[in-house]
């Protein structure tokens, strides 16, 4: 067993689970979506991205790309949330919440691809 592989897989799967946890619930209801969960999802996603740096295989490159997509989507969601809370006069309306959650949903798709690729990679190794 390789400790590096454990950490690597751990963060990739954790990024997916946190992302999924945040995404769960009514799309426009702020009560169903925790800001802490989004924060954790962003942090874990960033860590997963850095862990993928320097992979020179084809699959490593695609993994990095999916991670970057997830980062982008989650950060966009966080920015929208911050703007709604602090800048906009209307505050966090259900429609804004829907935008945030759907952005996180996009990130979820990227994270799913990431995990699928990880499994494909492991399956191809047969070790």
């Amino acid at each position: 067993m390789n400790i590096e592989k454990v950490i690597f897989s751990f963060f990739i799967v954790l990024a997916l689970t946190l992302n999924f946890g945040f995404f769960m619930g009514d799309i426009s209801n702020p009560e169903h979506h925790s800001v802490y969960e989004l924060f954790a999802a962003i942090v874990v996603s960033l860590i997963a991205t850095v862990l993928k740096f320097g992979e020179r295989t084809q699959i490593g490159a695609v993994l990095l790309a999916t991670s970057l997509v997830a980062d982008l989507q989650l950060i966009a969601a966080a920015i929208v949330w911050g703007m709604a809370m602090q800048v906009s006069a209307a505050g966090l309306t259900p429609s804004t919440m829907a935008v945030i959650v759907s952005l996180a949903g996009g990130a979820l798709a990227a994270n799913v691809i990431s995990v699928v690729l990880l499994i494909v990679d492991i399956a191809a190794l047969r070790r």
């Binding site: 924060f39 960033l46 860590i47 850095v50 862990l51 740096f53 320097g54 966080a78």
Partner: protein, 576 residues
Amino acid sequence: MEYRHRTVFLILRRMRAPLLLLIVVYAVSILGLVLMPGVDSAGQPYRMDFLHAFYVVTYTVTTIGFGELPYTFSAAQRLWMMVTIYLGVVAWFYAIGTLIALVQDAAFRQVIRENRFAAAVRRLTSPFYIVCGYGDTGSVVVREMVDHGLSAVALDIDPERINELSLEDLQTYVPGLCVDASDTRHLVLAGLHHPQCAGVVAVTNRDVANLKIAITVKLLSPGLKVICRAESHDTEANMVSFGTDAVINPFDAFADRLAMALHSPDLHLLVDWLTQPPGRPLPVRTTRPPRGTWVLCGYGRFGKAVHRYLQYEGIETVIIEATPEKVQAPKGTVHGRGTEAVTLREAKIEQAVGIVAGTDDDTNNLSIIMTARELNPSLYLVARQNGGDNDAIFTAAKADLVMQRAGILANRILSLVSTELLTPFLHEARHQKEEWAHQLVKRVWPLAGNATPDLWTVDITPAGAAAVHTALTAGEKVTLAHLLTDPAVHDESLPCLALLLQREEGIVLTPEDNTPLVIGDRILMCGRPGIERRMAGTLHNLNLLRYVRTGVWRPDGLLWRWWSERRAEAVRSRAH
């Protein structure tokens, strides 16, 4: 060409740990700040939101420090801020420190240099040679190649020399890299598999390295031309055995040119003219070396080669050598360096007609020349120049003949790479009578116009001479004289001449002007720079070719042809 390391990925991989640390520290700091209880300006309990927490952490850990925003901090928040500052600032220092260490890392910089070099090589679009070894010879070879319009890539193990290359004022950019050229990977990096790579010139000062380069190239890219320098005859034979295209022994090449200069000064001059890049000042004829006894100073590898060639020419020599036992000098060798009058007198300098100062020390050679001239002012003085940067003092010493080692080697190499037909021409020329060389020098001299002539090849093929090929296919007769005619003025000829005609039956040196051309002929032309382009008109344009053949400007195009035929008919019928 595959990069060994992409610079960006190399940075990312090295920065992995500091970046992870930064993300973790930021996450912990932001989360902590959000969780710490605070009070707003109205005294109500307040918790910072993520946006503000991120904002505060960002400006605090980068040591900008805007203060306590949006409200004055509570004691708990201040406590947490202290933790944040110590963690965050340390994490940033670590990250920046790693980045700076990486940029200064010798291995990393070498990777960057290699990548830049490989990119520059990949961008080359014209045929180029890989020159391994940028020393005295290599630098002259590169300069002359560039002046000949060829591209070059230089490799050398010494960083000083590659620095010199970057300071050199060359007409085109020559990528250079400081690596061991005998390493296969480096040769590949320098474009061994590049479609435009024409060959490899191995002129490092180590025979072993040159041998390794030659064998590598012959194995990996058998089609490439390989020219090698070899100091020992063993290595030379070894290189020839696996098909190295040309092996040049610096001592033999040098002695050979010296012998040529003494025995056939005109041929020596001709070789000088034809191998130098076009447009240089034309070297002039020197006085003819006298026949008689010669004094040869220095009996090392160079001296031995010279002695052998002089013996072959039937010239009597007296040898002066400092360590006769070590070099196994023949009997009758005068012991000494030759820089002192005593030694020179012992070698009977007063009765000699010439002296060759051929030691491997430039200062000694100059000293020999000057002492010898004092003892016998009528001596013919030949000096061997080793270092490339001693040009000025050798010119000032006013020797009759200065043989510069690097220059001679470079000339030899350039004669092999510059124009394809030059090698067979020089080969044939060596077997000609001296009178032939004398006549040729007299012919080339007026058309060169005080600058070294340009050489080019004319191929009578559809691609090389479209119009001539068409005319020959149609059964018309085209002679060499037609090509040499000025396509602008019919009764004048271009300032150029044909040096060599190569066809299936064999090689013709300086073919006669009335030689009829045959499809497949290859002609080596020699003329003033720029003439090649004017001749190309005749070669490719049917109208110009017809003009030089008949001297009549015939209009072309269906309408004009019909019109001119009608006119000619009208003239004829009027005459009847």
